[in-house]
Symmetry: C2
Subunit: 404 residues, 2 copies
DNA sequence: CGGACTTTGTAAACTCCATAGCAATATTGG
DNA sequence: CCAATATTGCTATGGAGTTTACAAAGTCCG
């Protein structure tokens, strides 16, 4: 209230803002000419020219000399955002697998590293596997930890502001794990730990089936059920990072919902508990009566919590994602019918298009958000380099508050 | 995606931005000296001086000549935001009353007009009463409709983007009423129609008991139960304007909750249905067993829906408001206990401090938001004057998206 | 009562940024 | 080879903010 932080706007600050404007325009894909950028940003051509050259000398952009393009007039030099100036890592620390994605500043995935983990592996085993995946991902892509500008890790369970899963943890022995601290020993850049559902929601809006929507309820459906909320284009974490945890309500039968699929009469004893749900979905698709009934009971159970979220937020889209999204063909229609019964205004119900990679992709996006946030606060005056982590712990709520 | 609207930043635009910065600083209360403003905004003294003088000549600020203040050095001229340059109206179209507030650009209420309406009055009677209240409010404060910069009206029931209550209406005969159109005949300025719960939530954050919080679930408790959501400091309406309508879920017993209070054994037959709840609260406060049990049943019923909202959003604060907030002393503790049972992380539970005026106050705030939005898009170059309504209907979601 | 001190108000010089308009340049098509 | 066309490069112009300097208007203290 007292120090209403207001940006004093200097002349140099204006240049900085315009530079950032050019960078923003440049990043929305293809190499652009000065005139295109001028038209796009509203700045004059000379101004854009000076700024673009400054970006090149600063290392933020590269020149694309004109190739044989078939237009009248002198061929224009094109400028391209130097996405390879930095890289980020997004990693999904899941129950069954660890998946790390390494991407450049455009979000283009450069390298992928995956490793299976036993569902009952203890915390230190899982952390060792994580280290292994990260090391492989770095070495195979020819990078070192110092080349990485931001790292985001996704885990199950609500994550508080300090990056810990104190409320409850699903992974064995995970209550006491401080993942952010663990990663801090390996990276000097900012590190963010976030709930898997929230990350998957972010991914779905970024590259998935909800690219057009600003108000999204994302369901991560698998052996555990969770939700991630995007409101007005921004991922919402809640005050304590526990937004979307509607499954904790007893009246919402999210905890027990998957049991209908696992306990379906007729599941062969040879099928392990992890594959039972898949078996039931397949059987339902083949017309098995019991399986269809089980799926319907499952949908009925998840619909109540979904309806609660829909009524609370009135979103434009509900995205059905997670492991079970492979069977979305069986779920979507009955889910729509249930929501019709329960809600005032039924949103679009769509299937996830990203599947099992969504959490890691969302982690990537959040890491990029962190990079963007720095860019827009620190500016472009310094040459591109991996930022050092601030002493104060990363405030996830701030990072999440970036559009796209 | 194509026209990523980017502000081309001209030199004059920079001046505009700095002027807006000064205005923002100026509005946060008391008349300030040039040096104070310079320190506050980061601009140099000469720059602030020029801008401040420009604001005075433009009609946006006034000079306060130094009075006998006992400080060392030359006494400083002070500048004050000219809040009286414009006025806005916020009006609550309630079931029992219509309350209109007229305020200046600082939000200081200049005039109040109130009128009782029968709960079963039909739509045209209610609209006539509204017209009457507005006319009285204007004439008694010596203003005309042309002096008003924005009008916001609060009604029960979810309001869609066009300002209509199509989903369902509580007021008799209100389904077909186009309140925005009705008001358009009387005012040329922007007109916003909004749900009462949402407005009350806004008020509570502005001047009520949730001033410190950015993530708020507000409960409007009365004969009808509703909620308004503020997330990250901004009122959230949802894609279709129906955010917070968790009461539509059958498992949430919000519809039937007040019946416990009305149907409490021992309510005298002389007490009308509207006052029965008050009687029960009073009886409970006096130790009446049946009344206490009724209150407890009531709290248990509203707690489920509240818990759903809390789990969905993980807010910092839950505010108990509306007509029943007078009896918050009986409700808050049991409500906290119930939430403790149902939620992961229990937020602060507080009573509203604004009472029955909260809806009209929130309407005022939303009207001011609209004025601010215009200010920040149109700029200060034009002298202060009542804006004319755009042809396109006011997009409430945009207006709501202003902090504070 | 007068001088020292402090703070405000104002003017001038300087720097920086963006714009506008013109000349030079490079490519295509005839 | 020349004309048409579009881009690039350059210079002059004007606007905005900062710094510096100095006069003006008070208070404090001897």
């Amino acid at each position: 209230m007292t120090d209403q932080v207001i940006a004093g706007t200097d002349l140099t600050r204006l240049r900085e803002l315009n530079s950032l404007t050019i960078v923003s325009a440049l990043r929305d894909q293809p190499p652009a000419t000065v005139t295109e950028l001028a038209k796009l940003t509203g700045l004059s051509r000379p101004a854009v020219d000076v700024i673009a050259q400054g970006l090149v000398t600063g290392g933020w952009a590269t020149v694309v000399e004109p190739d044989g393009s078939s237009v009248v007039g002198r061929p224009a030099r094109r400028y391209r955002f130097r996405a390879s100036a930095g890289h980020v890592i997004g990693v999904d620390v899941g129950a069954h697998k660890i998946l790390a994605l390494l991407a450049d500043l455009d979000g283009t995935v450069v390298h992928t590293a995956r490793r299976s983990v036993a569902a009952d592996a203890n915390a230190s085993e899982r952390l060792a596997a994580l280290d292994d995946v990260l090391a492989v991902c770095l070495s195979e892509s020819g990078k070192t930890a110092q080349d990485i500008w931001a790292v985001t890790a996704g885990v199950t369970g609500p994550v508080d502001a300090t990056g810990k899963t104190t409320l409850f943890a699903v992974l064995p022995g995970w209550q006491t794990v401080d993942l952010a601290a663990h990663l801090s020993n390996r990276f000097t850049c900012p590190i963010i730990v976030e709930n898997d559902c929230k990350l998957a929601a972010l991914a779905e809006r970024w590259q998935g089936s909800a690219r057009d929507a600003n108000d999204i309820v994302f369901l991560l459906a698998g052996m555990r059920m969770g939700a991630g909320l995007i409101i007005d284009g921004v991922l919402r974490r809640g005050f304590g990072g526990a937004a979307g945890e509607i499954g904790a309500l007893k009246a919402v039968r999210w905890l027990s919902a998957p049991a209908h699929l696992q306990g379906c009469p007729g599941v062969p004893t040879t099928v392990g508990p992890d594959d039972a749900a898949a078996w039931t979905f397949n059987a339902a698709r083949d017309g098995n009566r019991d399986a269809r009934a089980a799926v319907n009971r499952y949908v009925k159970d998840i619909a109540v919590g979904t309806a609660a979220l829909v009524l609370a937020l009135d979103p434009q889209v509900v995205v059905f994602g997670g492991g079970f999204s492979r069977s979305a063909d069986l779920v979507l229609d009955p889910l729509r019918r249930e929501l019709q019964k329960l809600c005032l205004r039924v949103p679009d119900v769509r299937a996830s298009t990203l599947g099992a990679d969504s959490v890691a992709l969302g982690a990537l996006r959040l890491a990029l958000n962190e990079v963007d946030r720095r860019l827009f606060t620190v500016g472009l005056s310094a040459p591109p380099a991996a930022p050092r982590r601030e002493e104060s712990p990363a405030q996830s709520n701030e990072v999440a508050g970036t559009k796209v």
